[in-house]
Amino acid sequence: MFHRECGYYKTTYESDQAILPFPIAKQAIVGFLILFLLVFPLFASEYYLSQLCLVGIAVVGALGLNILLGYTGQISIGHAAFMSVGAYTAANLVTRIEIFGGPLPFWIAIPAGGCMAALVGLVVGIPSLRVKGLYLAIATLAAQFIIEWTINHSPSISGGAAAAIEVQRPSILGWHLNDQWELYLFVMFFAILAIIATTNLIRSRVGRALIAIRDQDIAAEIIGINVFKYKLYAFAISSFFAGVTGVLYMYYFSIATYEQFQIVVSIDFLAMCIIGGLGSIVGTIFGAFFIIMLPVMIRLVMEFIGPWFMDPSYLPQVIGQLRLIFFGGLIIVFLILEPEGLNRLWQNIRNYFRVWPFSY
């Protein structure tokens, strides 16, 4: 309907290797960029911008987890702990170091937080050579608790008994990003960067090695892939993304507190990857949208239709419970109907329209 995939002749290696092989993909990307970077900041209300900020931050973290979980096949339940490593590293740097007459700028703090998380991720990744599957899950679960405990009990890291460090919002050349649209663009920049980075990573030598390990690690080893090295790579990269996510959370809330990074958050991110689609970048974005926006949507719909069939004064009592029921129910329904995630659903829709209206 919209486009045909035939008729585009590739005459150079570059065009054959392009990330976006068809013009429509490029047009779609430009369209999305205009929508997200121009239309939304200009016209959307602060409420929707704040929601998109949360989604944007979650996309970075979920992409990181998907590199590990979806592309390398290594499970991690300690993702939130790596975020807290990033957040506390950046918070300590920002509040303790002053350069250029101000706190450490974000373009140093963010990579620093990411690198520290990557280092910790490397250590946690070491058992991955020996233990697999559920056993690895428990090893990373241990990491979650150890990191949480360490931060919680070291005042030099956590900044005192309250284990919370307040930081200023990021600033560019003396311009403080305080408004919601400014923060939104700030978050979007890193979300887009993460998407581009992951897309390229997967197409690289490293990315193919990761996929080979996921599909069959023994076979991968036999064809000459250093399994241990690449597993550690995966842990480091994934943790780097998590660290950056933590720093973004820190800047967005302008505080680092370990209570934002507890095990529930790790589970939320796992859910984003699994519901979105393992080993798929678009799916990860869908997953982040789904997990963050669905409870909001369910509540809005309930508030709208609820008064038709119940006493409005009972509504607050009921909505919270119903939201949990529907949220859990919808996840189950999705997983039964489409175990390969939202990404597969999207593929099906695309494939249907690819030959529409002449499907036979």
Binding site: G160, S254, T257, E259, Q260, R299, L324
Partner: protein, 412 residues
């Protein structure tokens, strides 16, 4: 492009819904976060109905100078992202006061609320440092902080031992997280001042196993008195373990989250907790005029009184919070002369609350631009034969020491 369409439709639907639920101009909106689900649901399911009942009571009497109060509630599951979402939603709906719920949520919203000039309250959580109104102009703890509570607990113990604590042993058992550790600086300071021996006993999350700690306290440390700062499901476990160890319950004092009727029921009933001392920042029990008014309101509407009213610890706290919010708004409306008030007006209204006690449900709170805690008053209630009996009047202790520690905290 399907994705785009979905997004557009979703945005349109939510925009329509948001518009439909926006309060009209004469209503004064309060944004209220609640935790009816999630790990702290024990509290929220009782506290929030109390809050709504008081607002209904105010509205049934004509509201604040003829303006209706609308308390919009959003359940946040004790998670940070839903709290941010709820906050933005309230703000969009024009709320003049927003009450975040839970320590991490308060932390995450502190800065934003200051920037948006919307005041909020954090009764019973958040750091003691937030009591300083100059540093945090838009956050009001309004109730005694953990520091004030710990100081009051020490004073209570001192009085029990006839005014001398020298050589006594006090155990401080706490839930091992930042909120739980809050009391430690105060304990360290007061132990030096009063010459008593003390030790900390940490209960790791989720606080459902503390046999070892209780054994340590009662058999090895042989504490003369126990200060308990536990929350969630932990208080019930603690009461059970203490009972098993045979420790006299009248030598235990619990801070504000260690004390509800629900905990006592879960521990095995009132007999288990007989003699247990509990610190409160709002009165417990049902014998308050304002609670009678709420019961009358239900009767006038031909309804049964809600079962939440039996859980007076948290229910009364809901009433307390609502009363403080309404009072702040009332002060703001009075000062301005119209219902056209901003968050800044409400903040000043909150700071103008003096000697407000809601017929004895509350201590005589004194808020000011500097003191957002309201003086740090508490009252000790003891469990006696199936109910809470007040054993002290509203009081505060070691005020200068607490304020001095606060100052040091801000310098550090």
């Amino acid at each position: 492009m399907t994705f785009l369409k979905t997004l557009g439709v979703a945005a349109a639907v939510t925009a329509g819904l948001a518009a439909a639920t926006t309060a009209n101009a004469k209503d004064l909106a309060i944004g209220m976060m609640c935790d009816r689900t999630g790990p702290t649901a024990v509290t929220g399911t009782v506290l929030c109905p109390g809050y709504h009942d008081y607002i209904d009571l105010v509205n049934s009497k004509g509201g604040v100078m003829g303006n209706k109060i609308v308390a919009n509630e959003i359940d946040i599951e004790y998670k940070v992202p839903p709290a941010v979402e709820a906050y933005q939603r309230f703000k969009q709906d024009g709320a003049v006061l927003i009450s975040p719920y839970g320590t991490p949520m308060v932390a995450a919203l502190l800065k934003t609320m200051e920037e948006d000039k919307i005041p909020g309250t954090s009764a019973g959580f958040g750091t003691a440092a937030a009591a300083n109104g100059e540093k945090y102009p838009y956050m009001f703890p309004i109730a005694a902080s953990y520091w004030s509570q710990t100081a009051a607990a020490v004073k209570f113990i001192k009085d029990k031992f006839g005014g001398d604590l020298k050589g006594k042993k006090v155990a401080y058992i706490f839930y091992d997280n930042p909120a739980g550790r809050e009391g430690i600086p105060v304990m360290t300071h007061l132990a030096k001042k009063e010459g008593f021996e003390w030790r900390e006993f940490a209960v790791p999350a989720p606080g459902l196993e503390m046999g070892a700690q209780i054994l340590d306290i009662t058999r090895r440390f042989r504490a003369d008195f126990i200060i308990a700062h536990v929350f969630g499901r932990a208080p019930a476990v603690m009461l059970k373990e203490l009972k098993r160890s045979g420790y006299p319950m009248d030598k235990v004092i619990g801070l504000v989250w260690a004390v509800s009727e629900g905990d006592i029921a879960a521990a095995g009933g009132w007999d288990v907790a007989e003699g247990y001392n509990t610190i409160q920042f709002a009165g417990v029990g049902s014998d308050y005029p304002v609670l009678q008014q709420i019961r009358d309101m239900y009767k006038a509407n031909g309804k049964e009184q809600p079962k939440e009213m039996d859980f007076t610890v948290y229910y009364n706290r809901g009433v307390f919070q609502a009363a403080m919010h309404v009072k702040a708004i009332e002060n703001a409306v009075k000062k301005k002369g119209s219902a056209d008030i901003t968050g800044e007006d409400v903040r000043d209204g909150m700071r103008a609350i003096k000697d407000f006690s809601l017929d004895g449900l509350l201590p005589p709170l004194q808020l000011s631009a500097k003191d957002h805690e309201g003086g740090g008053f508490v009252r000790v209630f003891q469990v006696q034969k199936g109910k809470y009996v007040p054993v002290t009047d509203w009081y505060r202790a070691y005020r200068e020491d607490v304020l001095k520690l606060l100052e040091e905290e801000h310098k550090g």
